[in-house]
């Protein structure tokens, strides 16, 4: 929140108070001034009206007095009675003496008929003015004053009439004076020194016969009543003048109720002039005339306003001065307060180092000192507090973190528990399954502790060893059914599972409950905990007595086949050989060809037996791999040599391309030889006469690359997928050649697979076949086996 400064507050308050004060004072001054001035003006106007009225009446009286004086002259009476030329001349001369100042338009004498018999203004002479009221009144013996527009001159005129009497007092005529039209102007124009003040003189009906504003001439103050209009017409007073009403209806209306020499003043708003006006109306003494004095009251109020504004300006200025003084005064006195505020703000913002710089020598300084002390104390306290708060906050944060972590952990645990429960359920099910599977497994499965004490064994224990599960649990597996083996065997076993903590695989002879011996294949694995300590051993034991028997039988069969089949074959072979060699006497051609057939047939039989033996050994997995440094190039040359008879017979062209960097590799020469023998003999066998056979031997970084191509019959597309299958022979070669066992490529593939190599081919029927072989240069791995491939 933004606080207003005290300074501003005070100044604002004082300013407002002063302003209100000023307004009141100015209003009062204005009102009083206005009132006073109004009264003054009214009184001035009253005075003015009376003064002017007096002046006018005096002026008029001088004229009417003149008229009376003249009318009473006996010469006038005489001249009126005898208006001969001489008298007229004399009368004119006389009358003109009284018009030296040319104040009068005419001085003239009317006879009883109203005819101007003598007139200083010649145009009047002979005219009949009997219609004029002043004539009529004068004829009746009364002095009369009258205003009218001249019937002849058409100019407004001011008439004074006096009866002329003879010596007996009989009215014999009327003496008239007519003032010049601007008589009043002459009289009054100089009197009006204020442009806001106007004078008007009206006749008894309110028709203006004099006004300093000439445009008002012969207008009426307000609307004239119809009767008055008729009267005016009758009097022929303003012949040919259209009397227009002015805006002073109120004055018009008041004319009939006025008392002599009493000023009536009206205040009204002049809609035409758009101003407030003061009007005074005064009947001019004994004359049928009214003096109207007009004063624009706004002029007066302007005076008031100007006075008010002057006083207001002065007041405002003085107040401004007061404010400025006050401001400086306050600023000066409140400066320490500012300082104090700054300190307070500083403290609020956390600055407890703030210094007390207030030297004002008053309560504020005292306050500053107290504040400073307070700050110091606060600082000390705050320091402590800060430390404490820091500690507490830290503790709180730690606790909070801990709680959060705990919460998170709890949530995680809950999740985990949920997961774990699900897992556990699944595991329980799995375990159930596994247990079921394990319980019913044909292999004997035992779990022992680290000392070999049986903790679990499945149902096969009874079948294999003759001991029941009950009898077995808690016993030492080694002593229960183990038949003592050579010490070295046990040493190796325990070293593997206990020291090396690895799985031991081996064969063992065991003893059943009834004393019978049996062969078993055992696998013992240690189960380790997190610290890699052995917790259990899991032993799996399979009774392989039967398998061993089968194996033995097979081995015996192979042996039998080798020996018993080959012996008669050898016999046939050799005797046929001898017959053909002529060792039994020379054979004729027919005999020779028959024996050859026997020999060839026997050779095929030998080959078949060999192949079958190889296949059975390969399938048994019992063949040995016995790698030795092997010169592959030489081997290929040897095989080519062996096949020479067939090659020559079919007039085949052979090529053997080999790279110079073919190394001696570790390989089983017999297995390798079989590969080359089969590949090349196939090539010879299935290439028509005069074809060609090429063997390329190269290497890359890892492999020995063998490529055997021929221009032979090729392998039909539809047979290509089955070419490595046992006993499979392609359609085309089966038709051409009854020889061939369908075992060659099968054996090659088996050997190459064993050697970790690859074999593939490309072939097109009647164009030829190319086999591609890759054999790792690292050679073949040694493998102990019972049988050698032959």
């Amino acid at each position: 929140m933004r606080f207003k400064s005290i300074n501003k507050k005070i100044i604002t308050t004082v300013a407002v108070v002063l302003l209100i004060n000023s307004v009141i004072i100015i209003s009062a001054i204005t009102f009083i001034t206005y009132d006073k001035m109004d009264k003054q003006k009214t009184s001035d106007l009253n005075e003015l009206a009376l003064e002017k009225s007096y002046k006018i009446s005096s002026y008029l009286k001088s004229s009417s007095d003149l008229a009376k004086h003249l009318a009473n002259f006996p010469e006038i009476s005489n001249w009126t009675q005898n208006p001969n030329e001489a008298n007229i001349q004399e009368a004119l001369k006389f009358l003109n003496n009284f018009n030296m100042n040319k104040e009068y338009a005419a001085l003239y004498i009317l006879n009883n008929d109203g005819v101007a018999i003598i007139s200083t203004e010649p145009t009047f002479t002979g005219n009949n003015y009997s219609f004029r009221p002043y004539f009529k009144e004068a004829l009746n013996g009364k002095a009369s004053t009258y205003v009218a527009v001249g019937a002849t001159s058409k100019i407004q005129g001011y008439y004074f009439a006096e009866p002329i009497k003879n010596a007996s007092g009989q009215v014999i005529g009327v003496l008239s004076l007519k003032l010049i039209p601007d008589a009043f102007y002459r009289l009054l124009d100089k009197e009006i020194d204020n442009k806001d003040t106007h004078l008007m003189i009206t006749d008894r009906y309110g028709v203006i016969i004099y006004s300093d504003l000439k445009e008002r001439m012969l207008s009426s103050l307000g609307s004239l009543a119809l009767s008055i209009k008729d009267q005016i017409t009758t009097e022929k007073k303003y012949i040919g003048i259209d009397i227009k009403p002015l805006q002073y209806q109120k004055a018009q209306d008041s004319l009939n109720n006025l008392k002599n020499n009493e000023v009536s003043i009206y205040k009204f708003f002049d809609a035409t002039d758009k101003e407030s006006e003061l009007i005074s109306i005064l009947p001019i003494n004994n004359y049928p005339l009214f003096l109207i004095t007009e004063n624009a009251s706004w002029a007066l109020s302007i005076d008031a306003i100007s006075l008010a504004s002057w006083s207001a300006s002065i007041i405002l200025l003085s107040q401004l001065l007061i404010l400025i003084i006050l401001y400086f005064l306050i600023s000066k006195n409140l400066k320490p307060l500012k300082e104090l505020e700054k300190m307070a703000k500083g403290v609020t913002a956390g600055d407890l180092e703030i210094k007390n710089n207030i030297i004002s020598g008053d309560e504020i300084e005292e306050l500053g000192i107290s504040f400073s002390k307070m700050t110091t104390k606060l600082k000390d306290y705050y320091g402590d507090l800060e430390e404490k708060v820091l500690e507490r906050t830290k503790a709180l944060n730690e606790k909070n973190d801990y709680l959060n972590n705990t919460k998170l952990a709890t949530l995680n645990i809950l999740d985990d528990i949920k997961d774990e429960k699900n897992k556990t359920d699944l595991l329980a099910k799995d375990l159930e399954k596994f247990k079921l599977a394990l319980d019913n497994a044909s292999d004997l499965v035992t779990i022992t502790d680290i000392e070999g004490i049986i903790l679990y064994c499945n149902q096969s224990v009874e079948k294999i060893t003759g001991y029941s599960t009950k009898e077995s649990l808690g016993k030492k597996a080694g002593t229960l059914w183990a038949q003592p083996m050579p010490t070295s065997y046990y040493e190796k076993l325990w070293k593997t599972i206990k020291t090396d903590k690895k799985t031991f695989d081996g064969e063992i002879k065991n003893k059943k409950k009834n004393g019978d011996l049996y062969d078993a294949k055992i696998t013992i694995s240690p189960v380790l905990n997190d610290k890699l300590e052995i917790e259990f051993f899991i032993g799996i034991e399979r009774d392989i007595t039967h398998e061993k028997m089968v194996d033995k039988t097979k081995t015996e069969f192979v042996s039998l086949a080798s020996h018993q089949l080959r012996t008669p074959l050898s016999s046939i072979n050799w005797y046929a050989e001898m017959l053909l060699a002529g060792d039994g006497g020379k054979l004729n051609d027919e005999q020779s060809s028959f024996v050859k057939e026997i020999y060839t047939g026997n050779q095929r039989m030998v080959e078949l037996v060999n192949s079958l033996l190889n296949v059975s050994r390969l399938e048994l997995g019992t063949f040995a791999v016995d790698p030795e440094p092997t010169d592959v190039v030489k081997m290929v040359e040897d095989v080519f040599n062996e096949l020479k008879p067939g090659i020559l017979q079919k007039k085949l062209k052979t090529n053997f391309d080999h790279a110079k960097d073919i190394p001696i590799i570790q390989a089983d020469p017999k297995l390798f030889r079989i590969v080359f023998q089969n590949l090349l003999s196939n090539a010879v066998k299935y290439t028509p006469e005069a074809g060609s056979i090429t063997l390329k031997l190269t290497r890359n970084t890892k492999n020995l690359l063998i490529e055997v191509s021929d221009t032979g019959y090729g392998i039909p597309k539809q047979d290509q997928a089955r070419i490595f299958q046992k006993l499979f022979r392609a359609e085309n070669v089966r038709e051409k050649d009854t020889e061939g066992t369908g075992l060659g490529l099968y054996i090659i593939k088996s050997i190459i697979d064993h050697a970790g190599g690859k074999i593939s081919f490309k072939s097109e029927e009647n164009k030829g076949t190319t086999f591609f072989l890759e054999v790792p240069l690292i050679g073949m791995k040694k493998k102990d086996g019972d049988k050698k491939i032959e």
């Binding site: 042996s559 080959r566 012996t567 050898s570 050799w574 050989e577 060999n610």
Partner: protein
Amino acid sequence: MPTILETKTILVVEDEKPLLDAIRIKLEKSGFSVVTARTAEQAYGLLEDINKIDVIWLDHYLLGKENGLDLVVKIKSHEAWKSIPVFIVSNTASADKVKSYINLGVNKYYIKANYRLDNIITDIRECL
């Protein structure tokens, strides 16, 4: 048949009569002086009796208690006989047996059924 300037004596040890006959006939036709035995014991006798046996043709399986391997062991351990070349011609070709023979220092191991007589005889002749 090339004429042999010096007739070599060959001891053929083979249990199968027909095969023994075939071998004997062929060797004789090839110019060898042939003595035959069907058991290891007979072979010892002949080795002891006949002073000069140039070469031995030996089968693995023999009549009697001992087989070809036993015989080779004795021959190779006998001061007078150990330099006599020995060619094993047998149909029984288990890996260990072949290895044993080779290790004992026999010249060559043939599988009967896979070889012609004249091939073996050529090898023997080359060795002498």
